[in-house]
Amino acid sequence: MNRIDKQRKLFYICLLLFTVLIIFSIGIGVAVGQVAIPLKESFQILLENLSGGIVNDLSGISSNSYESIIWQIRFPRVLLAMLTGMGLSLAGAVMQTTVQNPLADPYILGISSGASLGATFAILIGFGGTSILAQFGLSFWAFLGAVTAALLVLLLSNIHGQMNSIKLILSGMVLNALFTAFSNFIIYIANDAEGIRSVTFWMMGSLAGASWSKLPLLATVVLVCLLFFLTQIRILNIMLLGDESAVTLGVNLKFYRKLYLVITSILTGVIVANTGMIGFVGLIIPHIVRGIVGSNHRYFLPLSVFSGSLFMVWCDILSRIILPTVELPIGILTSLIGAPLFIYIFVKKGYEFGG
């Protein structure tokens, strides 16, 4: 058996393993929290609701309130965690490939500061309660800020001819600084303690706002982007070889690079609008997966998405149980876990960004 077969086998085993782990984690995810619900009953309730009542055996359930806790509160939240993890790892993986830099993450195009500015604006200044603009709410402004920032970065890096990775990263940094300054300025002059608290909380990222009504849009965007990038595997692989090699292999990267950047920006923008800033997932997950299966996107991309969702579900579970009475913002936790993990793989001997 040659290495390609072996690699493929390892890939399918990982995929199967992840599927089992994720189903298991969903169960735990809906069982733990302020009210602990036995694992068996959690699965029963999930099964009953998912099958639309066909598998209807709730006789053993000890409390009726369990069902609404699981179905109305915790399950949407676990799904939100999964989608966020999938989307952020996908965006991170594609971003690292597109700018050909292993240190890129989904927020590199200034999306984080753009979204923060949008959110700060909405929270601290807002619009009159009756105006049309006020109806859109925080998510809309965060999304708008994120996408505006990303587009400005793209425009800036296209000035004076060809866009390249360095121009892109520098433009991202500069606009990041600018947007952050604007946000800080608004915070400084706002003099609104309650507002500042919500801004801070928003910037730390949270899944607490999960609800069924929020999921369809996010799920559509994440899944469509995933399907799209799964059709782009060959081009993503070629992208890793650099512009000149890509052209001599028949692919003109200029068009694809812009397309990918726009799509990942929208994806990240939608996620940020729903959850606030959740750091490190998009940076660290692609790194770890690359370390296991290599840089070939055929294996690397699906596994990043799976591990990302698993990682987020568990971060969410921990964020609910780590402190006895309050919930930890999940952005704090992902960074608390992600940063040391990153240092570990960075220091680990022989790590070659994807060997």
Partner: protein, 252 residues
């Protein structure tokens, strides 16, 4: 496949790098391009591989105007080995070679048995089969260059463009790369630094300076003391190497 470069000029920004160059490579011919650093060799080769667009003039490969071909169509007939292969991410050598099949693949098409067969053949030909599973970044310069040439051969090109393919390589690898290239039954255009190797392997030479061709001909006609003096501003003596029977150069 023939390559004809007809009165081509190339500019980068406002600076004209290649001026009115005409050049011809016949089927099965190994043609060398020599000249000092910055004389426009790489720029000329890049315009052949469509990395740069010529300002004026026409480049024809076979019967096709290169400018009319898509990148993908061109990649099926033209193989290119560039000067730099720095990558931030890693592939196994086999995966690297498989990417050479890309020009033949549609959006979702996966590699099939034929692709694997071609790759295995090239692995043997380039003496890479024992290290096929090693990672590209762990290789030495010479090995990397062999992998890149191998990837180019996997494209099954009808013509090859090489930009200083023996840069940074030791003697053994210089010889092995050039021997492989010379033995290919296709036309080759290569920018070369080492004049003795150029004399030994090429069938025809073009000497370039300041963006113009100043001399062309068989290696022994081009590699004269006067031409080398004009090209590189160094004095030298040329003689017939008693062992190879080819022209050789000794710099003073």
């Amino acid at each position: 496949m023939n390559l004809t470069i007809d009165n081509v000029s190339v500019s980068i920004g406002s600076q004209q790098i290649v001026q009115d160059v005409s050049l011809h490579v016949r089927q099965n011919q190994f043609v060398g391009l020599i000249g000092p650093n910055g004389c426009g060799k790489s720029t000329l080769l890049k315009s052949v591989s469509k990395l740069l667009e010529p300002k004026t003039g026409v480049i024809t490969l076979g019967d096709e105007n290169v400018q009319d071909l898509s990148h993908k169509q061109l990649a099926k007939i033209l193989g290119v080995v560039g000067q730099f292969h720095e990558v931030n991410f890693d592939f196994s050598i086999r995966d690297m070679l498989l990417l050479g099949r890309s020009p033949y693949k549609g959006l979702m098409e996966r590699d099939n048995a034929l692709d694997y067969e071609i790759v295995e053949k090239v692995l043997l030909q380039m003496d890479l089969e024992k290290m096929a599973d090693r990672s590209f970044l762990s290789l030495s310069g010479g090995e990397k260059q062999r992998v890149i040439l191998g990837r180019t051969l996997v494209q099954q090109p009808k013509f090859l463009v090489l930009d200083e393919p023996t840069n940074h390589l030791d003697i053994k690898h210089q010889l092995s790369i050039l021997r492989t290239v010379a033995s290919l039954p296709i036309g080759v255009l290569a920018a070369l630094h080492d004049l003795n190797l150029a004399a030994r392997f090429t069938d025809y030479l073009y000497a370039m300076k300041d963006g113009r061709i100043i001399k062309e001909g068989r290696p022994e006609e081009v590699l004269t003391e006067a031409v080398i003096q004009e090209l590189y501003e160094v004095e030298c003596r040329t003689y017939i190497n008693p062992i190879s029977g080819k022209k050789a150069i000794e710099f003073l």
